[in-house]
């Protein structure tokens, strides 16, 4: 087991109250596996990834749980020890390729910095490795482009540079937080393809965070559906798409645009809005948007239950298999 997150909770203590951005989530990630975390904006995906990386900003703090990376609890490491792991064994790509690179440094210097921080190599070797990495992620004439500044590149190219930088030290785990959200559709596919290829090439695990289930079907092995800081459903990608259990998952699946659809059909959207994290109602956080909501749903929080290798948090499945959305 490469990564094991156990009962992780992360909260933001604000003047107006406490936001439980991540609420008691657990999952595991094996070597070489791609695990996707899916959920609407605000469901706590970025906070999860920042908690793992130790990048939480005040007033955010991990209030409980463990993050075991190769059996070491990352949350208990000193800043120095964490810095040795970050960018080296675990690295990260962010959503915003336009702003995630330092605008006043040449891209080669940004990648070289990563390499020389973690590896005992000369500047020359680091540069050679940088250019090789840029080549690997598909940047044409990498030796020349290495001298560019970020503003001289397109968004897609910058995300490739970010990927090259993240992979420069050969990480065992790559966290990609919405790596394609800011890009247009054709570039999105290219970047996903790249991640997939890199996983094969470097045998690394990927935690792929996205709000777009369409992205998941193409790349992931296993999927976690998150909502309001909680895991609502977990399944391998095949089961999730053929047999979604949670009404929230069903809603997300129905909102994927279908290219071969009749164009006069309006795109489905889950009704209502994500509740305000400061005034989270008791019971299931999805209850006020759910078509199957029962009285009980607004009062009690359902447990995450295992049903035939799939996990779901919903009272519809309390009685086990056979209940639920039935023929849906």
């Amino acid at each position: 087991m490469l990564l094991e997150v156990k009962n992780l909770s992360t909260e933001f203590q604000l003047k107006r109250g406490i936001i439980k951005a991540v609420d008691d989530i657990s999952f595991t990630l094996d070597k070489g596996e791609i695990l996707a975390i899916v959920g609407e904006s605000g469901s706590g995906k970025s906070v999860t990834s920042h908690s793992i990386m130790g990048l939480l900003q005040k007033p955010g703090r991990i209030s409980g749980g463990e993050i075991l990376f190769k059996s070491r609890n990352l949350n208990k490491l000193s800043r120095k020890e964490l810095q040795k792991i970050r960018g080296n064994q675990i690295s990260m790509i962010f959503q915003e390729p336009m702003t995630s690179l330092n605008p006043v440094w040449r891209i080669k210097d940004q990648i070289i910095e990563s390499i020389t921080t973690h590896m005992q190599v000369s500047q020359k070797e680091a540069l050679a490795r940088t250019i090789a990495m840029l080549d690997t992620v598909g940047i044409p004439s990498p030796a020349q482009r290495a001298n560019d500044y970020p503003h001289q590149m397109s968004g897609g190219m910058r995300q490739r540079v970010m990927t090259a930088m993240a992979l420069a030290c050969g990480p065992e785990l790559l966290i990609a937080d919405e790596p394609t959200t800011a890009l247009d559709v054709t570039i999105q596919a290219q970047i996903l393809e790249l991640l997939y290829r890199m996983r094969e090439k470097f045998q690394m695990a990927v935690l792929l965070i996205t709000h777009d289930l369409g992205v998941v079907s193409e790349a992931a092995d296993r999927v976690i559906v998150m909502y309001c800081g909680k895991i609502m459903e977990e399944a391998d990608v095949r089961s999730l798409f053929t047999r979604p259990l949670h009404p929230y998952t069903v809603g997300l699946l129905q909102s994927i645009p279908q290219i071969d659809d009749d164009s006069d059909k309006r795109l489905y959207m889950i009704k209502g809005m994500v509740p305000n994290p400061l005034t989270m109602p008791p019971g299931c956080p999805f209850s006020d948007r759910c078509d199957h909501s029962m009285e009980r749903c607004t009062k009690e929080m359902p447990e995450l239950k295992e049903i035939a290798g799939q996990k779901v948090r919903c009272f519809l499945f309390e009685e086990g298999e056979g209940g639920g959305l039935g023929a849906k």
Binding site: T99, L101, N102, H151
Partner: protein, 338 residues
């Protein structure tokens, strides 16, 4: 880039013409008649009239200006009414003292301003931040002559650590090569003169630096607060870079542009002469001297100084713009933008 610099330098010409017209008019319209001041209260009407005639003050203003411009173009800014010395010589005798004081003050102000500003931003809302901001508040609100007098009382008077007036002990004065004592004493290998000049600089430079330091501290803090929130800082941290390096090499390096801007503006105004500081510390610079010349209606000197200060202001701004291009690769000075 070179084209841009040349264009900016050429733009000095209209600026200087405009400034010279304004100062010319102001002096002649609002200043008292210099004749009785130069000749003394007891001079006769005829003598005063003759003096005015001799100095061209009876000509129409546009003609006076025309003559002045002709002189200026040939490098002749006239002579002081009192000392009869060429204005250029008068200025050159005092300006190095002002530059030396201003440069040392801006170095002090920049060093401490950036240091305190960065710490305040990194440790936002901590006791360090509060102390830094209090210091900055004191710096902008404390009258400079008052601070100067306090420094003199304490460090010269009570403790006898540092001298309180002049640039150097006259016995140690180095041979004038550049007019900057720190440089002249080093060139001539006169270490004791160097040390003495430095000791004389500490108090006036500290007093003068205080205000600029406060401004630089505030600008550094706000610029760093902004920069440290940027996504690329998070990227640097995610790369496993040590925090100190993240703050300086990524944060400060990016937040430097507004800081360099205020440093440039502060330097420009310090070079115009720090009248109060020069007066309190008997510093033989251009500021206090110019005020005396204004009061005595020494037109040629005042005109010369104002032109010089205007030129320096423009040049400092040009240097700041050139530094921008080095700090930020996104800034390009093409012909169109001029």
């Amino acid at each position: 880039m070179l084209k841009y610099i040349i264009k900016r330098i050429l733009m000095l010409i209209p600026v200087l013409i405009g400034v010279s017209i304004i100062v010319f008019l102001i002096m002649r319209v609002f200043s008292p008649d210099p004749a009785p001041i130069v000749l003394g209260q007891h001079a006769t009407q005829e003598a005063a009239e003759a003096w005015r005639q001799a100095n061209g003050l009876n000509d129409p203003i546009y003609l006076q200006y025309w003559h002045y411009l002709q002189g200026a173009l040939t490098g002749n800014l006239g002579t002081s009414y009192y000392t009869k010395t060429p204005v250029i010589k008068e200025i050159m005798a005092r300006f190095p003292a002002t530059i030396e004081l201003a440069v040392v003050a801006i170095i002090l102000a920049s060093f401490f301003g950036i240091l305190i500003g960065v710490i305040s931003a990194v440790k936002k809302n901590s006791i360090f931040d509060n102390a830094g901001m209090l210091l900055a508040l004191i710096g902008v609100s404390m009258p400079i002559f008052w601070l100067g007098i306090l420094l003199i009382i304490f460090f010269s008077g009570t403790l006898h650590w540092l001298p309180s007036n002049g640039r150097i002990n006259p016995l140690l004065e180095p041979i004038h090569i550049t007019g900057f004592y720190l440089i002249d004493s080093l060139i001539t290998g006169n270490i004791s003169a160097f040390a003495d000049a430095l000791r004389h600089l500490i108090l006036p430079a500290s007093a003068l630096a205080m205000y600029s330091m406060a401004i630089i501290t505030r600008m550094t803090r706000s610029s760093m607060l902004d920069t440290l929130q940027q996504d690329f800082i998070r990227t640097a941290r995610a790369k496993g870079i040590a925090e100190g390096r993240v703050i300086v090499r990524h944060g400060l390096r990016n937040g430097l542009i507004p800081i360099v801007t205020v440093i440039g503006l502060q330097l420009g105004s310090l070079l115009g002469g720090a009248v109060l500081t020069e007066t309190v510390f008997s510093w033989p610079g251009i500021g206090a001297y110019t005020v005396t010349c204004i009061l005595k209606s020494d037109f040629p000197v005042v005109q010369g100084v104002v032109l010089l200060v205007a030129a320096i202001f423009v040049l400092v701004n040009l240097i700041v713009d050139v530094i921008y291009a080095f700090l930020d690769p996104r800034i390009k000075y093409s012909k169109k933008e001029v």
